[in-house]
Amino acid sequence: MKKKILSSFLVSLFMLFGSFASAQTIKLGILEDQTGNFAIAVVPKIHAYEMAVKEINAKGGVLGRKLEIVRYDTQSDNTRFQEFARRLIEKDKVDVIFGAFSSASREAIRPIIDKARMLYFYNNQYEGGVCDANVFVTGAVPEQQFSTLVPWMMEKYGKKVYTIAADYNFGQISAEWVRNIVKQNGGTMVGEEFIPLDVSQFSQTIQKIQAAKPDVLMTLLVGAKQASFYEQQAAAGLKIPMATSVNVGQAYEHKRFKPPALENMYVTVNYIEEVHDVIKSGEFHDKSKDFMKRFKALYPKEPYVNMEAANAYNAINLYVKGVAKAGSTDKVKVRRALETGISFDGPSGVVKIDPKSHHGSHNIFLVRVAKDHKVEIPKVWKDIQPYWLGQAGCDLTKKDDFSQYTPSKPPTK
């Protein structure tokens, strides 16, 4: 009898030990702005990470290991990003880092990530051009958003384009893309104005736009202060079709602003929660509906599921596929596995990693905001590649690089 107890004790101890060894989790570090200026667009992202992890763990994880999130609130503050990136790497010893909303916060942690050879997923729409051996990008880039949007707008409304853009990297580089595409398509820029992030009053800008009489107004504005432009242009009766790559798909301005502030605004997104409401059947309808059903089951109070939430969800799944393929969480092995062109069939269809630039391909939806702020989708472009960096000379499969490039300052070949 005693013997039996002892042996069962030993067995259970052994099992405990064994299970402990195999249950060593894969640690995913997440740095997102739960508070501060960007919180509006970021909270759905955080939930999407959590949802992806829950789903994967429910299926038993990967390589027999569960995923575990280590998350810090970076408070929309670049210095917090730096502090916590180091904390994740040096203290929590995570296997991969996801996160950052603004480009500045991404750039704040990239030196730390590169030095530690950490694997990092940036899951946000941005100005493009990051060619970094350790960085993967699941958000949309200008060649995906503007190469589709701008020619379409010019065809529909006319060839005179006016750009107002936030006066920092995103706005300036995006404006450069718009300028180039307008020229390539035989249009003219009738005006271009850059506006500091702190400006919230736009009377003068509105008058300048009216003086130039454009057919299309590109509004590459960022942040809550600049978003006041929309109410002010509506109050002044500007009535010029607007196009952008940022609004609606991130901070769901069409839900937050009083109609008709965003009337006749066009946006290219790689996902928004309305996809399955607007597109009544087919692949996109089914995938989006399924995703939203699962999302709302977990987070019924979520105000909006934006494109960055989809990107965050895709990022975790892509990473896990990379780990599965590599058979390890070794950072170099996972990177090489991801560079084989891994793809994931997500909320808006297949996202495939471009091996050269580490960016993802996307299906792009053209969204129009109607007078009552209901959303229409006049067009979908399928499988748009992040082609620019690869063409410009970034090939991370052959040569490591740690830079960000722009169309006017491409990689030196």
Binding site: T35, N37, A39, I40, V43, D167, E193, F194, I195, P196, D198, V199, S200, Q201, S203, Q204, T205, Q207, K208, Q210, A211, K213, A224, K225, A227, S228, E231, Q232, A234, A235, A236, G237, L238, A251, K255, R256, F257, K258, A261, P303
Partner: protein, 288 residues
């Protein structure tokens, strides 16, 4: 003609923004030498008070605005009683305390109301003049800002309360020996400053995105205007705001907004360099 009106509108719009941004701060800083870093949050309270009472209590806009102002005054009153009154005579320490208050308020708004709140529509309509169209409400703002300033001028320079307030500000100890209840004068003055900040928030609420950081859009303009106005803000505020908005609008007109902002900041540096006591100092000198 249209161009002239256009310039007037642009200038007036910039002017009223500077005036309204600065006015509450001008009272609190100019009269009490408290550097209120929470000024932006007072504006936020006014804006949220207005929007919440218009959206949830379904009050008509003017009444909702009054509620916004009232809420800000109550907040200002409580704050003055429990914290600010211990900071009189320590203007530089007030920086730290009011910064703390600003953190508490803006973050509390985020916790309570979430990152964003559906805004209001700008009241009134717009009108067309040649190629340009204008918002009537913004035209009204110009009038409102100037009339508030005139009322304030009367209150502080012509009324009995104004005499008490100016005496208290100049020399609280002596005012007290003459029977003035210095505490009360401070409280009332602080409440007036709060009310004006709240009013700014209420007035601009229908034209801006309603987020917990809404008030921060005003704060740099406010400080810059108050300081160039100088030690006696009621005299200096209009010339300072006019000068600064003239610089900003004309530079923005010829170049673009970034250069406009840089020009504004640069002219502040130069104004203070050559008029160390601001515009009011210059005016007082000229009068003599």
């Amino acid at each position: 003609m249209i161009i002239l009106f256009n310039l007037f509108y642009q200038f007036g719009d910039a002017l009223s923004f500077l005036l309204l941004a600065a006015i509450g701060l001008a009272v609190i800083f100019g009269m009490m030498k408290i550097i209120n870093l929470a000024h932006g949050e007072f504006i936020t309270i006014g804006a949220y008070g207005t929007v919440v009472s218009a959206k949830i209590l379904k009050l008509p806009l003017p009444i909702a605005m009054a509620v916004g102002v009232l809420v800000t005054v109550i907040f200002g009153y409580i704050l003055e009683r429990i914290i600010i009154r211990h900071l009189y005579g320590r203007p530089l320490d007030s920086v730290v305390a009011t910064w703390g208050i600003s953190l508490i308020v803006s973050q509390s708004f985020l916790v309570i109301f979430g990152p964003s709140f559906e805004g209001l529509q700008t009241p009134l309509s717009n009108f067309q003049l040649g190629a340009y169209s204008y918002s009537q409400y913004r035209l009204l703002l110009i009038l409102i800002s100037i009339s508030i300033l005139i009322l304030l001028y009367i209150l502080f320079l012509k009324s009995n309360f104004g005499t008490l307030a100016r005496a208290t500000i100049e020399n609280p100890k002596i005012a007290s020996t003459l029977g003035v209840k210095v505490d009360k004068v401070y409280t009332v003055t602080f409440c007036i400053g709060s009310a004006l900040a709240g009013l700014t928030g209420a007035i601009y609420a229908p034209t801006m995105t309603i987020v917990p950081s809404i008030g921060q859009a005003f704060i740099v303009s406010a400080f810059v205007t108050v300081v160039t106005a100088g030690a006696s803000p009621f005299i200096g505020l209009i010339p300072a705001a006019s000068f600064l908005s003239l610089i900003q609008t004309s530079v923005t007109f010829y170049y673009h907004a970034t250069i406009g902002v840089l020009a504004l900041l640069f002219s502040v540096i130069l104004i203070i360099r050559f008029l160390p006591k601001g515009f009011s100092g210059l005016l007082i000198k000229l009068k003599k």
